[in-house]
Each structure stands twice: as C-alpha cells, then as structure tokens.
C-alpha cells in the first residue's frame, strides 16, 4: 500500500518539477528541453515499477521494469541473434532492395508523363492498403527463412517510396529547368545536378516512412512462420509461454532498433539536404 501511495506522491512531484521547468527560464535552454521529457519518462517508469510491486500485479499481466531490465541483461545473446535475424537479414536487406527498386522505377517512370499519371494514383492507392497481409503468401513462396521477410519488406516499402520519389522528381520549377537548358545540359546531367538533389527531401521522407514500415513488415511476417529465431518468433512464442518479461525485452530491442534506424536516416537527411529550409532553422 505504501508503495502505491509513494507512486502517486512521486507522480505529483514529477509533474511539479516539470511545471516549474516548463514555465521557468530553463525551458528555453537545450538542457531544459531535454530534461522535461526525460523526467516524464522516468516518472512513468518508476510509477510502473511501484504500482506493479505495490498492487502485486502478476508477472503474467505486467512485469516490472526492473524484471524486464534483468531479463534483457541476462539474455543478451538471444536478443542479439533475434535482432540479427529480423533486423539485419530481414528488414535491412528488404529495405535496401525495396527502396532501391522504387527509386529506379521512379526514374524510369519519370521519362513518360503517361506512365507517371497512370502509376501515381495506383501507387497512392496501394500505399494505403494493408500490405502486411501479403506476408502469408510470401512466406509460402520464399520459405520460412529471412528471404520471405525481406520480400514482405520489399513489397511494403516499394509503393510509399515510389510515390514519394515520383513526386520529388517533379519539384523543379520551369525556370530552373530552363537554366539547365541554357547550359546545354543533357537529360542525365540535369537529372543528377538539378532534379535528383531537388527530389532529396521527398526521397528522404519516403525513406523515413519506409524505415518504420520495414521493421513492422519483418516482425509481422514472422508471425506466419519463421525459423526458431527472430524478434517476431520470440514475441509470439514467449507470449504463448506467458514469459512476458522476454516479450518486453524484445519490444525494447524493437523500439531501440526502430528509433536508431529512423535517427540514422534523419541524420543522413540532414547532411544531404542541408540546403532545404526545414533543415536550416
């Protein structure tokens, strides 16, 4: 009971600190901007821990954060193997193949106005569909190993990437294209020097959307069959064994991988599209 009371006291304290920080002069500084969300996150974690212990919540329903951390630390080799199987082999290879294929297709389509006007609505439509559903079919075709996961990822990232790249390649103004013509630039010269750089913000938008989709695709595809390895496999079997601390440890890995992947793409974006107004603030 005291733990429950303590949890709410801590909660009130966390909110109070954050309110002080947010309304004070510290809110303008970089440290203040970082501290407020961190305090919020830590407060939630500590409350979670105290409430789970205080109310005696069963492990089967919600394990305490310390238990998850302990499980994370003790099963690092398993988690690493799962990570390598799902993320590196499945998601990353599929991501590279899918995005590469989409950009190449977009470049080919771009030469024909007819194709562009035909494919863009179709691509937009397909990008909104629950493509994850192709997972059972692709698992059937490519077997249980990482190839089928990569295939699901390819299908999932292809259309968002295609639509974004095609849209990006139309971003140059007539004035800029005319300037290239006055320089007597050929198609490929004006493509590499003008239109591809101009398309980069859109391409990176597609890459960022796809980075999230890739991990989702690889994990969900494993629910339909996988070798005895992989994040999706571990999650579904651990849920079956009711060892929820393992599930949470796996979710922590997924969260870290997803955030790091997105962050890496965003950093490359910052380096490549440094000229864009959204990056110059």
């Amino acid at each position: 009971m005291t733990l429950v009371v303590l949890a709410f006291v801590l909660w009130a304290f966390g909110i109070w600190v954050n309110m002080r920080l947010a309304s004070g002069p510290a809110a303008r500084t970089r440290a203040g901007k970082l501290a407020v969300p961190v305090i919020f996150g830590v407060t939630i974690l500590v409350m979670w821990e105290l409430l789970v212990r205080g109310l005696g919540v069963s492990m089967v329903i919600l394990p305490a954060p310390t238990l998850i951390a302990a499980r994370f630390a003790t099963s690092l080799p398993t988690l690493w193997a799962d990570f390598a199987q799902t993320f590196v082999k499945g998601a990353l290879s599929g991501y590279v193949m899918g995005c590469g294929a989409a950009v190449l297709t977009a470049v080919l389509i771009d030469r024909s106005d007819f194709l562009r006007r035909g494919l863009l609505p179709v691509g937009n439509f397909v990008a909104a569909l629950p493509i994850v559903g192709t997972a059972p079919i692709l698992v059937m075709w490519f077997g249980f190993d990482w190839q089928s996961k990569a295939a699901v990822v390819v299908v999932m990232v292809f259309f968002p990437m295609l639509v974004n790249t095609v849209a990006g390649l139309t971003q140059t103004s007539a004035m800029q294209r005319d300037l290239m013509r006055t320089y007597a630039a050929g198609y490929w010269q004006s493509f590499f020097k003008l239109r591809l750089p101009a398309a980069m913000p859109f391409i990176f938008n597609g890459l960022k959307i796809s980075s999230t989709l890739a991990l989702i695709g690889a994990i969900v595809a494993e629910f339909f069959g996988s070798p005895t390895l992989g994040m999706g496999f571990r999650i579904s079997t651990s849920v079956g064994q009711l060892s929820l601390d393992m599930v949470w440890a796996e979710i922590v890995v997924a969260a870290l991988a997803g955030t790091a992947f997105y962050g890496a793409v965003a950093m490359i974006e910052k380096a490549v599209t440094f000229w864009h107004p959204s990056q110059r603030s």
């Binding site: 947010a22 969300p37 089967v60 909104a128 559903g133 075709w141 980075s211 796996e250 997924a254 962050g263």
Partner: protein
Amino acid sequence: MRSLLAVLTVVAAIVVLWYAACAPMNIKGVLTELERGGAQVVPEGAPARRDMSAFGLVAGNSFAIPATWAQERPRLPAPHQVVTELWNTTVMKKITSKRSLVYHGWVTLSATLLGFAIGTGLGILLAVGIVHSRVMDMSVMPWAIVSQTIPIIALAPMIIVVLYSVGVQGILPKAIISAYLSFFPVVVGMVKGLRSPDAMQLDLLKTYNANTNQGFWKLRLPASMPYLFASLKIGIAASLVGAIVGELPTGAVAGLGARLLAGSYYGQTVQIWSALFGAAILAGLLVGLLGLIERATLKRMGMS
C-alpha cells in the same frame, strides 16, 4: 480523363503481368497433376523436372498454360480465380454464414471502427492538451514523435493475451490495438494543425479581444481540419492493419486476419488472396469515404 486512361492502362498491364506470372509460378504443380492424369509432358517424371527452370518448363509444355490458371491450390492464383472466390464468398453466400467474407469483413471492420473512434478521440483530446499546456507539450510530444518510429505492432500479441488473461475478450482487444495505432498519427497531425494559424491571425483575434476558448473554436479548430483529415486517412489505414494483425496471434476464428491465417495453415491460396483483396477493398472504401467527408467539409468551410 486522360489520367483515367493512364490509370486503366497501368491496371490492365498489371493484370496481364499477373496472368503471365501464373504460368511459371504454377507450372511444376500443374505438370505433376497432368502427368498423373495421363498426359504427355516433357520431361517425364517429377524428379527430372525439379531442378529445371520454370520458364524452360513453360516453353516445353505450352499446352499446359491454360491449366496454370485453373488449379485448385495454385502457388499464385489467377486474377479471375480470386475474383470468382470474392464473388462467391460475398454475394453468393448468406452474410451470416461462417464462410462469407462479408461476415469476416464485418468482424474486422467493427473492431477497426471502434478502435479508430477511441484512438481519434483520445488523440484529438491529447493534441488539444498539448497545444494549450506547455508542460504537456514539452513532456509528451517528444515521446509521441519517438513512438512513431517504433514498430508498435510488436505489442499486439501481448495486448491480446494479457487482456484475455484478465477476462477481456472479443472485439475490445483488437480495438485497443487499432486505437493504439491510429492514436499517434492523429496526435502529431492534430498538433500541427492546431498550431497552423500564423501569428498574424492570432494577433487579429487578440485585437478582437477573443479569449483562449474563442480562439480555439473560431480559429485553431477550423484551421486544423485539413491536417486532421490527412492524419485520419493514415489513422484508419493503420487501424485496419492493427485489427488484422490483432487477429493473428490468438488464432481467432473470425475476421480477415483469421482468414489469412487459416488460409496459410491449410495452403488455401485462393482464400488468402481473396481475404487480402477483401481487406484492400475495405481499406480503399474507408479511405475513400474519409476523402469524401473531407471534400464536403472543406468545401462547406470554404477551404478548398
């Protein structure tokens, strides 16, 4: 009009490619069946064909191509097989039948809509809170953004099992996953939308002596509508994915996800494809419906 022609051409090309792909995909199974039926195929015996390329087999047995479009359990069903299955399981079956796709679609759709309503409602509320409270903005918003980069769907199996163990089952666990998936896009889009009025417009309201409440209802909320609809479209597609994935881990007996899973267990490829197209049509309808509402609303508000 010319766009329509272009779209139709692209769709026709996809269908033609699909038919063409059926031949090499299904040829091995078809040849085995034909040989068992007494037909003359080149080369004879399944072991001899195992290592041959599918294209070589198609070229050597061109008479078998029509059969690749009419197999019972093909690796890749032909478009007309999927359409026939869709027709048979939607229009020809009573909608209360367990084999009707309308029934399964409704199971998934009800979870999707419930989850979407919960997720959108909470998302809008949180966005309003974030816009009006600096503390909430600074503490919650970074997490909302980070959470979009996390494959939340990995939580789905656990949510279902945990809720099941505390006695909640049926539509609610799926709806919670749907709600969770549509929640964050709505929060992020709505915050952007509520902040979209520029300083000039806010100053104008100030000169009118409008209070925060009036500013919200008369300026911020109307200005956020285009952003809201854009994120609603993303949210409903995510909700549908959430409801489908939510049906996978428990071995649910009804719903589009359950049809996918059952199809993959029993090798019923036509069933998988028809469930997939059912889900696609459902998603298309939902997004299209939201698009119509968006058009009508924005037109009435004079924004489009």
